[in-house]
């Protein structure tokens, strides 16, 4: 499964949360006098002579460092935002890459074939597919609507015995991961056409 965005979000939130908790907790501890008073006294101003002296000693290069830190924050923030909307879909998938030539298949066409294959299942009402991942690690994502009155085993058997083997054959891979999101719906009532 491609869990990269989810994992990245959790890592990002954990790092930001940890930094905020450490900074806030340290400030709180200092204000409450929890640190040794000869090292971090609570009865001094937040910006005292030590701080102003340090800034005066290190100017101007400290401001270049601050600017660099700001730019790094912008880059990290933008990268994180882009990752939320980055589409993992591919336009083509390389099947063979040999010195004599390269075989590419259209990911859209392949996905349509997979969806058509999935729709041949008895309990499947509708299916849609997307092809993701790399040549070495392809992944199929299916969105399906299945008849709620049919045993779900029919659907999973159809996927494992028909759809996935066909995808594996087509992509020439031993393993192709697949994620199917299934909506169960009542079958549409039989329609009678009167002429």
């Amino acid at each position: 499964m491609n869990r990269k965005p989810g994992r990245g979000n959790r890592w990002g939130l954990a790092v930001v949360g940890l930094v905020l908790a450490i900074l806030g907790g340290s400030a709180l501890a200092r204000g409450l006098g929890a640190f040794p008073q000869n090292w971090a006294p609570s009865r001094t101003t937040i910006v005292d002579a030590n701080v102003t002296g340090f800034v005066a000693r290190t100017s101007p290069w400290i401001w270049w460092l601050v600017a660099l830190a700001g730019l790094i924050l912008v880059a990290v923030g933008l990268r994180w935002l882009i990752a939320q909307w980055h589409r993992e879909g591919r336009r083509t998938l390389c099947l063979h890459d040999t010195p004599t030539g390269v075989t590419d298949v259209s990911a859209k066409g392949m996905a349509r074939a997979v969806a058509d294959d999935a729709e041949t299942g008895r309990s499947v009402l509708r299916a849609d597919a997307r092809l993701l991942g790399s040549r070495a690690d392809p992944e199929v994502r299916l969105r399906m609507t299945a008849d709620e009155s049919a045993p779900l085993g029919d659907l999973t058997r159809h996927l494992t015995r028909v759809v996935l083997p066909n995808v594996r054959d087509a992509l020439d891979r031993d393993h192709v991961r697949a994620v199917a999101r299934v909506s169960l719906e009542p079958p549409s009532p039989p329609q009678r056409v009167v002429h």
Binding site: L13, G24, L81, Q84, L152, V176, A178
Partner: protein, 227 residues
């Protein structure tokens, strides 16, 4: 007149077993997860199925990423503009510096601010660490390469329909909260409540066992009488 079922009644958990016996196996306890076919469950595949549909924390991630970007932009622009001799002064730095130079670390308002920052940090940490409930109902596929999830709405509708097949049920509703499916059948009250409740539970459990979820779910039945 309608009455709600006894809310104190403990919902029964459906714990997936290592190997599920045949439906004909009468030794299975009432309310336990029953599947029509015998098959060995793959715990690795079950975990993968549950993990695949966990929430991705997109909303808090977007909020934090936007704030991080804006903060970085402000810091970089202000520092660079000051270094080039044309400070933009988008934020009131002189007032901020004056406040920081005259406020003690032990100032109550500063302590409140520090406590809020700590709490926000801890909240973000909890959001990151607690995995969250899957947005789909993960079901067993029998293969590690294949992960199948059912949309909760369809599952609750299927369970309500299963409950409606029980004699005496006029209509039924089902919902999913956390790991508990709550089924509320409405009856005209011509059958004994306990027997009726048991039949509904059996019907719902049978349907749920058919779906074969990879994650344990509980089923709670609250009977509504409508005379």
């Amino acid at each position: 007149m309608s009455s709600q079922g006894d809310p104190r009644e403990e919902p029964r958990p459906i714990e997936p077993a290592e190997e599920v016996p045949d439906a004909q196996d009468e030794a299975a306890p009432a309310g336990a997860h029953r599947a029509p076919l015998s098959r060995v469950h793959d715990k690795v595949a079950d975990r993968a199925a549950v993990r695949a549909f966990r929430p991705r924390r997109r909303v808090p991630a977007v909020v934090v990423a936007v704030l991080l970007t804006l903060l970085g932009l402000l810091v970089a622009v202000e520092a660079l503009s000051a270094l080039t001799g044309r400070p933009l002064r988008l934020a009131p730095y002189d007032r901020m510096a004056g406040w920081a130079s005259s406020t003690l670390w032990s100032d109550p308002w500063f302590l409140v601010g520090a406590a809020i920052v700590t709490l926000i940090g801890l909240a973000l940490l909890v959001t990151a660490i607690v995995p969250g409930r899957p947005r789909m109902v993960p079901v067993r596929s029998g293969q590690r390469d294949l992960v199948v999830g059912l949309r909760p709405k369809g599952v609750t509708r299927a369970l309500a329909r299963a409950a409606e097949q029980v004699p005496g049920v006029r209509s039924a509703r089902a919902g999913l909260r956390g790991s508990t499916f709550t089924v509320t059948p409405t009856t005209s009250g011509w059958r004994g409540r306990d027997e009726f409740k048991q039949d509904v539970r059996d019907a719902v459990l049978t349907k749920l066992a058919e779906l074969d979820p990879a994650h344990p779910y509980r089923v709670a039945v609250h009977v509504k009488e409508h005379r």
